[in-house]
């Protein structure tokens, strides 16, 4: 059991646990935060599979773009709720 295979098993288990939590959580903002950390763990999995191009693309898009679009949608919804 080398170090790399221990890291592989830990990353795999964390991926499955985070995906399950993201679908079944009560509030919407918690689901979005679990999706963002799932994307970060997928970047580590891509690096373990020796593919740096895919890892850079997924890191920039998963952390910077998709999370911020979700947060902007939820922000506009909260503002519409409070106003009424």
């Amino acid at each position: 059991m080398t170090l790399i295979s221990i890291i592989e098993i830990v990353v795999s288990v964390l991926l499955i646990v985070l995906a399950f939590l993201a679908i079944n959580s009560k509030t919407l903002i918690k689901s979005v935060m679990f999706l963002s950390s799932l994307s970060m763990l997928a970047v580590i999995a891509f690096v373990l599979m020796k593919s740096p191009d895919v890892a850079i693309t997924e890191a920039v898009i998963g952390s910077g773009l998709v999370t911020s679009l979700f947060v902007f949608t939820l922000l506009a919804v909260r503002k519409a709720d409070k106003k009424i």
Partner: protein
Amino acid sequence: MKNFLALLLTLFLGFLIVATLGNNNFFPAYGDVDVTTRVSQKYIDRNVNGGSEEVIYGQATNLESGPANTITAIVADYRSFDTLGEVTVLFVSSLGVALLLGGAKQKRLELNFKPNFMLKVGSRALFGIILMTGVYIAIHGHLTPGGGFPGGTMIASSVLLLYLADDEFRAKLKGFKMLESAAGSAYVLIGLAGLIFGGYFLVNLLDNGVLGNLLSAGMIPIIYVLIGLKVGSEISGIIDNFLTEEGV
């Protein structure tokens, strides 16, 4: 009842995928792939159409496809038509967002919390660093991992930082839209020039220099810079559409 049927369907799909994973020709076990029997070995050897040189870094001159990064050679030279399709998909999605959320007479979304003054001033320094990193990754796409798509998204991330840190900032949208249309049309025009002068759509017209230099690989750095500019301005437009609302 519906939940139970959905659970049965997903378990059946999982069983199908795992059952075909057991060692046959299409899916060998994880890690035991023999690359020399696949077509990817021809991409690595730069030998798809009969090029016959040894590929050595720093010495091989005018190969069939010039970049040192094999994935850039596949995305921007051998399968460049698929990249044209991807650019079209991004354009259509940005067009859809602008049609749904755009409109006349817009102002920034008003929220309860106002950013600090130090945040507004200090983020300008970070804006320059992120912009330079994005431009570096987009230009060196044929030598290091990355390329046009993550480089363009990093340029858009620097604009996102300015939107988040300042409450009344709005980018110059007219300039971005013209830049995006110009870069997208330039990509198609390069392809048509390849058809007229070289015989095939999107063929590489310039000389592929020595493998590993900065000025090598013909037209591929130019194509990646165009793609980076197009993706960056597109995603900045999408972010501006999400953060504005009706009003004067």
